[in-house]
Amino acid sequence: MTFMSLVPRLAIPLLLIAVALLPFLAPWSKVMLTLALAKGLAVLGIVVLLHAGQVSFGHALFFAVAAYSAAFLGQAFGGGELVSMVLIGVASAVVVGLLVGLFVVRYRYIFFGMLNLAFSMIVFSVLEKFYHYTGGSDGLQVARPLVLGIEMERPAFESLLFYGGLVIAVIVAWAVHRYFDSPIGHMLKTIKTNETRLEYLGVSARRVLLVGYLVSAALCGLGGVLMAVAQGIVTPEYAWWIRSGELVFIAILGGAGSVSGAFVGALVYEVVRTYASAFAGDVWQMILGFFLLGIILYAPRGLIGVYGSFMGRIGSNTASGKEAKRRAMEAAE
């Protein structure tokens, strides 16, 4: 086995280590990376639905529901407790996911996307309008919660969020990976390719999609809670349609359907966005827009796909080229 053929297999652990070490070099980046993780988790939710060929333009809804649940919990208990925030946040995302999901899994494609959009805009409007309960468009503060009963200073808390988030992300990514490889995960994929056959196997496509929908809602919820505690504030903008679009954007950017792509995409997006808005304040949206166009037109498999074919090209000079390419793709997905 040559060194080159090892690279793809090591890529993800290497990237993880690099990300884990970054905050030591640039302390300010810790929170940015935490936010990237939060978005990555939510994007993973989008990826789950993309497996079924469905695109939700309203998934920021679950992000917001979980974030607000955590915020309400924090306010009700004067600070709150991180673990319960995560649990309650994710649970409420799942409950809302069930209510919304029962309706939307009856629809496909554009109607699926639009109905999700409608639900998210309703939640957005409610969050924005019912000022006395939700703090209106300014949102709610999320005070730094206790962690298992321990009060933490900001630097320690931020480190905990980042490294804790990283560990959770790795576990969740593995779990989603396994879910995709399970029978019901494969059935989810068949909603995209042939739903009729699935029904003719005696399986309810709606139920399969509902399971996927709940998984995606839970993932968005997890991302939402992490975002809420990392930022210390939740706003209705969490549920806005542009937020949902951003999640889909990142999913495509990273590599549609790819688990690791969700996080790679989120990381790249967050870095580009932060730097673009710092150094090209007038045109950061434009930069992101061109970036997105370039990806869709020239690299439809996203960053992960670019990486895969890059490794493949390097590898093809060696005897085990094909093998390296296959591994790179495998490692990527």
Binding site: R106, A118, I122, K129, F130, D282, V283, I296
Partner: protein, 301 residues
């Protein structure tokens, strides 16, 4: 709520619906033919408004007749539709017709993001306000309340004219019939030798021009500022989806429904105002998944 207030709410709702219709009908037309949900549609609306507000501001300041405001709106809409719409269709959309729906929407989303910053670079971030057209028509008093003639009479008339014009165009001209043919059955239309490329281009330019025209008309009644496109696009999504995507007359009715719903909310429960369009859309789609006038399609096995 007495009769007077009901009448007032209806007037407000109709004026609002007229503007929303203009944008939504372009969106739905494009979807019907190209099968692409154009997120950048809101940008055409905004750019139409900006062009009229800035050019109008300049020429009226130079002492030109205020009546030029009306032809200016038409010209601005046509220019935005042909130049911007044409460029986007030829350079971008043409390359993605065979891609997945999600990617198509994202391409228009990217265009939307780019155009947002283009507007900011060209027109800055300060609001424009150019109400010459509105002022030149004066006010009218109804039930002791002053309305502008522009909003109460002109806008609904223009919307009706656009609706009638579109019907005429689609039913009674060759180009229009070709568009309808492609809307109804894309494969069949291609099979009988219709030049779909040309139809797509024409439809996209027409749809973009309608959105820009909506913006041009709105510019006389509102401030033109960054972000108006983003709000308008979700609203016109709601209208188009409520009507059934691709339904032109349906869009008029849905716009009216949403416009009236919104203005009655302002009178009865102001808190619900922003919620109304989405609630209406949701209820309609839950009851009729394809929208009020949409058609169900079954798959052949």
């Amino acid at each position: 709520m007495n009769l007077q207030l009901i009448a007032l709410a209806v007037f407000d709702g109709v004026a609002y619906a007229a503007l929303v219709f203009m944008v939504a009908v372009g969106l739905t037309l494009i979807f019907g033919v190209l099968r692409i949900l154009n997120v950048a549609h809101g940008s055409f609306y905004a750019i139409g408004a900006y062009v009229v507000a800035s050019v109008g501001g300049a020429i009226f300041a130079a002492g030109w007749s205020p009546w030029l405001a009306f032809p200016l709106m038409l010209i601005a809409a046509a220019v935005v539709g042909i130049v911007l719409g044409g460029l986007i269709e030829r350079l971008l959309l043409r390359r993605i017709y065979d891609k997945e729906e999600a990617l198509q929407i994202l391409v228009t989303f990217a265009v939307f993001m780019i155009l947002e910053d283009v507007q900011r670079l060209v027109w800055g971030v300060q609001p424009y306000f150019e109400a010459t057209a509105l002022q030149s028509l004066g006010n009218i008093q109804v039930f002791g309340v002053y309305y502008t003639v522009y909003q109460l009479i002109l806008l609904p008339l223009v919307a009706l004219a656009v609706l009638a014009g579109l019907r005429l165009f689609l039913r009674h001209t060759l180009s229009g019939r070709l568009i309808l043919a492609v809307t109804e059955d894309r494969e069949a239309a291609t099979a009988i030798g219709i030049d779909t490329d040309k139809i797509y281009l024409m439809t996209f330019m027409l749809g973009a021009a309608l959105a820009a025209f909506g913006g041009a008309l709105a510019s006389a009644t509102t401030s033109v500022l960054p972000g108006i496109g983003a709000d308008m696009i979700v609203l016109s999504f709601a209208v188009a989806a409520t009507a059934g995507l691709g339904q032109i007359e349906g869009a008029a009715l849905a716009a009216l429904l949403i416009g009236l719903g919104r203005s009655f909310a302002v009178y009865l429960m102001p808190e619900l105002e922003v919620l109304i369009p989405y609630l209406i859309m949701l209820l309609v789609l839950l009851w009729r998944p394809e929208g009020l006038f949409g058609v169900t399609q079954t798959r052949k096995i």
